[in-house]
Structure formats: structure tokens, C-alpha cells
């Protein structure tokens, strides 16, 4: 499928919007980051580890709590669902055995929503966790793939494009680890670690082949985003000593 699809902002099917990431933007939070993809911008703040876990949680492991604040309006079921998805995604990348019986709170504030909101929030939360020096197994990159009526897969839609689509999928992949041992990144039965999905949330009906096609495109795009994430996290100046708590 090498035909050009006319997108409203002139991008090709595989092109992502301009990415921007800044760390350490809030003074009082232990870690903070803002992530924007085109006009979608999300702010994430991390407080923790704080002592104690909630009642139902396992005290032998660290606990993660996510609070999602929409731009306008009251909290409803969509916000609760985002909180649960974020919590489970971030739980799987954190090293929970290092600080048992502690709680880390992640607060997500939506600044503007122009499509692909959940992936943007996951990326922001990940960068904020790095800024707060929470121990992580690896990072996560999130991407949105959609399927047009004619069967093409396009990446990183705007809000207008998302509403016109037949179906879309939010996919989260682990960030590829640059290994210091000569064997290179870990393989699992012939598949690279970074091709496994951490999280997948789909909306709309699509065929199984279309979904697998979306997976492939998402994997290819995630390597570009991983490289961007690594560059932006390395280039920031080392944290200054004036930190709360």
C-alpha cells in the first residue's frame, strides 16, 4: 500500500506529529514532565515514594496510584478507566520489590486534547517517573494507530481524524534497552523484547489482520519514539539540589 493518503495537516500515513518533552517543570513535585504530540499536551507529576500502602494492596510491594484530571468537566467513567489502564501499565514497568510498603502517586493533568490523549499521558507519566528517580525495569512508549474506512493504517491521529476513523488502537511497547553486554538486547524465541505489547486498548471493529498490521506499524514507530525519549531524557541538565521532601 504505497499510495499517499491525504491527511488534513499534510502528514504521511507513518508520520508522527512533532514531539516535545520537558522535565522538572514543577518545583514541589518529586518528579514532573510535560509531553506534547502536536496540539495534545499532558502534564504529569510524581510524588513518592510515600510511606504506607492502601488497605487492599499488597504491603510487600510498592504501590502505584494514578489520579487523572481532565481539562474541563467532572470526573466520570472515562477518567476512571484511564486511571486503571495507566496504573496497570506503569505497575508493569516499575520495580515493585525495591521499596516495599510505599505508595507512589502520579497525577495526570490534561492541558489540551487533540487526539491520542491516552498514549500522550502514558509517555508523560513515564518521563515524570524518570525525573523522580523511581526505579524502573525499562521505559514505555505509547502510540495510537488508526484504521481508515479504506483499510489503511495511519499513526498519531488528530481529534478530527480519530472521530472519522473506523477503528483505532492505543498500543504501548517497552522501550528498547541499550545493553552493555555484547549479546545485545534480549530475545525471546526469535522476537525482540521491544515487539511485545504491554498494553493494548482498541475501539471500533476491525479484522484480525488489520489489528496485526497496526501492531507492526506501531512497533516500527515505537523505535523512533524510543530514540526521541532517550535523547530528551539524556540531554536535560542534572537535577539541582533544591527539591521538596
Amino acid at each position: 500500500m504505497s499510495m499517499e493518503i491525504g491527511r488534513d495537516d499534510g502528514r504521511t500515513a507513518n508520520q508522527l506529529r512533532p514531539l516535545a518533552c520537558s522535565r522538572n517543570i514543577l518545583n514541589r513535585a518529586h518528579g514532573s514532565a510535560s509531553w506534547s504530540q502536536g496540539d495534545t499536551k499532558v502534564l504529569a507529576a510524581v510524588y513518592g515514594p510515600k510511606a504506607g500502602t492502601k488497605k487492599n494492596e499488597n504491603p510487600e510491594k510498592a504501590c502505584i496510584e494514578v489520579i487523572w484530571k481532565p481539562k474541563t468537566g467532572q470526573l466520570g467513567k472515562p477518567e476512571k478507566e484511564y486511571e486503571v489502564i495507566l496504573k496497570r501499565t506503569l505497575k508493569s514497568i516499575c520495580l515493585l520489590n525495591i521499596n516495599p510498603n510505599t505508595t507512589t502517586s502520579i497525577i495526570i493533568q490534561v492541558v489540551s486534547d487533540d487526539g491520542a490523549l491516552l498514549p500522550c499521558a502514558i509517555n508523560a507519566a513515564c518521563a515524570a517517573l524518570v525525573d523522580a528517580a523511581i526505579p524502573l525495569k525499562h521505559l514505555a512508549v505509547a502510540i495510537c494507530c488508526c484504521l481508515t474506512e479504506s483499510g489503511y493504517v495511519i499513526l498519531d491521529p488528530t481529534k478530527v481524524e480519530e472521530q472519522k476513523m473506523k477503528a483505532f488502537a492505543y498500543l504501548v511497547f517497552p522501550n528498547s534497552a541499550i545493553s552493555i553486554i555484547p549479546e545485545g538486547s534480549s530475545h525471546m524465541e526469535g522476537e525482540l523484547m521491544e515487539h511485545g505489547i504491554i498494553t493494548s486498548v482498541t475501539h471500533g471493529v476491525m479484522s484480525v489482520d488489520d489489528y496485526l498490521h497496526c501492531l507492526e506499524r506501531g512497533q516500527a514507530a515505537s523505535t523512533k519514539m524510543s530514540a526521541f525519549l532517550r535523547r530528551s531524557l539524556q540531554s536535560q541538565a542534572p537535577n539541582d539540589s533544591s527539591r521538596a521532601g
Partner: protein, 303 residues
């Protein structure tokens, strides 16, 4: 590791139940090595499923679905409303999922279950996006009256795979649904014709006498699987879900299209091969569920 040695020493002396409570993961892994689970199911098999239509006599459509011990009661009530200006010839559906304290010891009146709003939103997204119900069929008088279907699903027993049982109950309730007969009264409003009212029948012509049942196309069915190391376990119980936390829920419709693939994080990564295996297990399950649903519908019609 010290704990591994401890469990090795104690396992020969300890009772099975105690070992199950203290070392749940090791207990389950011992079964997985033989490709079986503690309740003697092979890895790919779902629990016994049963469906009873018409469980709530006063509702317009209802169903009771049981998958193993997980029990869901779904009921549909119809109400006439004015359709919004943006869609004057479409009705609407409102879906709510409740987890009352009866379903699980972890749910208390002041401590609602975390899964309830998530399953509720997943259900409404799945049912609305699968195109099972054509909203135009719910219209009565274009621009003036349309049906609002309130679907309420109550979890009576939460033992894993809540979404699967809830979706099955919802689909069955809509299959059982009989739209009440309505007519226009003197004020020009649409009212429900009650069956006891024999007088004045010639004045009130029923508006929708012919169409009592909805035509449902492409019914969605789902299967939740757990990924643990190299194993894929279909239809987990609550105990398995709490120990091995990686869940994948695949929803396919009756024509084999993917309605939803939901994997909310979890320590195990899903590679393309695992995704294919889960989808294959779901395809088998869709056939089983379709035949169970058809059997339940034909049982109702015999009565």
C-alpha cells in the same frame, strides 16, 4: 532464596490448603507443569456456561448468565423519550454495571470495587461499537419519540472473567427483548398500551404493532485469557486473576471481526504469537457461546 527452601521443606508436611494460601504461585505452577489447572480444566478450556432468559419477569428483556461461579443478571427496561436534535430518528441505549457487596468479600458499601466503572465503560464501548443494535430500529416517530433502553447488569457472584459473563448476559437480554406495544393517545403523546385494557381499542391504533423484537446483527462474544510465562490460561477464576496479573480480553463478533483487544498492562509482554493464540482460543469460544445462546432462545420459544 530462603523462601524457596522454606516452602520446599514445609510442602511435604503442610496441608494442601495451607500451601495454597501461603505460596499461591508455586501451587498453581505445579499444576501448569502438567498442562492442567487446580479445577482439572485443560489450559484452553472455559468453565461450564449456562444461560437462562427471562429471569426478571417485569423487565422487557432479561437474562441470567453463569460462567463457572461468576453470575450476572442483566435486565432491559424501555422508556419513551424525545430524541435529541442531532439524531432525530435514532433511539439510545444506556448501559450500567453494578457490583453490589453480595458479589465479593472485597466489596463493601463504602469501598466500591475498582473494576465496576472499568467493566461498565468497556461494556458500553463494546456493545455500541460492535453495531449489534441498529439505533434506527429504536425510533418510533421521527423527531418526536424514540426508545431509550436502560440495560442494567448486576454481578451476583464475582469469580473472575467478569467482562465475559456481563457481555454474554447483555447480548442474551437483548436477544430476549420484546419491545412493548405503544400507541398515540389524545394529547399526541406516545403511551404504552397495557395488555389488560380491552376497552377503547379501536380508537388507539398501536404505532408499532408489527415490530416487537430487535434484529441483532453480528453479536459480540468475548474470552479473557491470562498470560503467565509461556502459558495461556483461558477463562481465569478470581484466584488465578489475582496471582497472575496479566489479562487479555479478546472480543470477536459472529463474523470473526475483532471488536476489541484489551490488555491493560501486566508484567508479561504479549508477542504477536501470543496474540494469535488468544484470538484462536476466542474463535472456538465464540462457537460454543453461539450454540449456548441459540439453545437458550429455542428453550424460551418452546415455553
Amino acid at each position: 532464596m530462603v523462601s524457596a527452601n522454606v516452602s520446599g521443606d514445609l510442602s511435604s508436611e503442610m496441608e494442601v490448603d495451607a500451601f495454597r494460601r501461603l505460596f499461591p504461585l508455586r501451587y498453581h505452577e505445579r499444576f501448569l507443569l502438567d498442562s492442567i489447572r487446580p479445577d482439572a480444566r485443560p489450559l484452553g478450556r472455559a468453565r461450564d456456561t449456562s444461560l437462562a432468559l427471562g429471569a426478571v419477569a417485569s423487565a422487557d428483556g432479561s437474562a441470567l448468565a453463569k460462567i463457572g461461579c461468576t453470575t450476572m443478571l442483566a435486565a432491559v427496561k424501555m422508556e419513551v423519550m424525545t430524541p435529541p436534535k442531532e439524531s432525530p430518528d435514532e433511539g439510545s441505549i444506556a448501559i450500567e454495571f453494578y457490583m453490589p457487596p453480595i458479589c465479593s468479600p472485597l466489596v463493601r458499601p463504602g469501598r466500591p470495587a475498582e473494576e465496576a466503572p472499568v467493566v461498565s465503560k468497556q461494556l458500553s464501548d463494546t456493545i455500541l461499537s460492535s453495531g449489534m443494535i441498529n439505533l434506527k430500529e429504536l425510533s418510533l416517530v421521527s423527531g418526536k419519540a424514540a426508545w431509550m433502553a436502560y440495560l442494567d447488569i448486576y454481578c451476583l457472584d464475582a469469580d473472575g472473567s467478569l467482562f465475559d459473563a456481563a457481555l454474554l448476559a447483555a447480548v442474551a437480554a437483548f436477544s430476549h427483548l420484546q419491545i412493548p406495544v405503544v400507541s398515540l393517545n389524545e394529547d399526541g403523546r406516545v403511551v404504552v398500551v397495557s395488555e389488560e385494557n380491552e376497552e377503547g381499542k379501536s380508537e388507539k391504533e398501536p404505532v408499532n404493532k408489527g415490530k416487537r423484537k430487535l434484529t441483532l446483527s453480528s453479536l459480540p462474544f468475548s474470552l479473557t485469557c491470562i498470560l503467565h510465562k509461556n502459558y495461556i490460561l483461558a477463562d481465569p477464576t478470581a484466584e488465578e486473576e489475582s496471582i497472575m496479573e496479566t489479562l487479555v480480553t479478546v472480543v470477536l463478533d459472529s463474523s470473526g471481526q475483532l471488536v476489541s483487544l484489551y490488555k491493560p498492562g501486566g508484567p508479561v509482554l504479549a508477542y504477536a504469537s501470543a496474540v494469535q493464540d488468544c484470538i484462536a482460543l476466542t474463535r472456538q469460544r465464540v462457537k460454543e457461546l453461539k450454540s449456548i445462546l441459540n439453545e437458550a432462545i429455542s428453550d424460551m420459544e418452546v415455553d
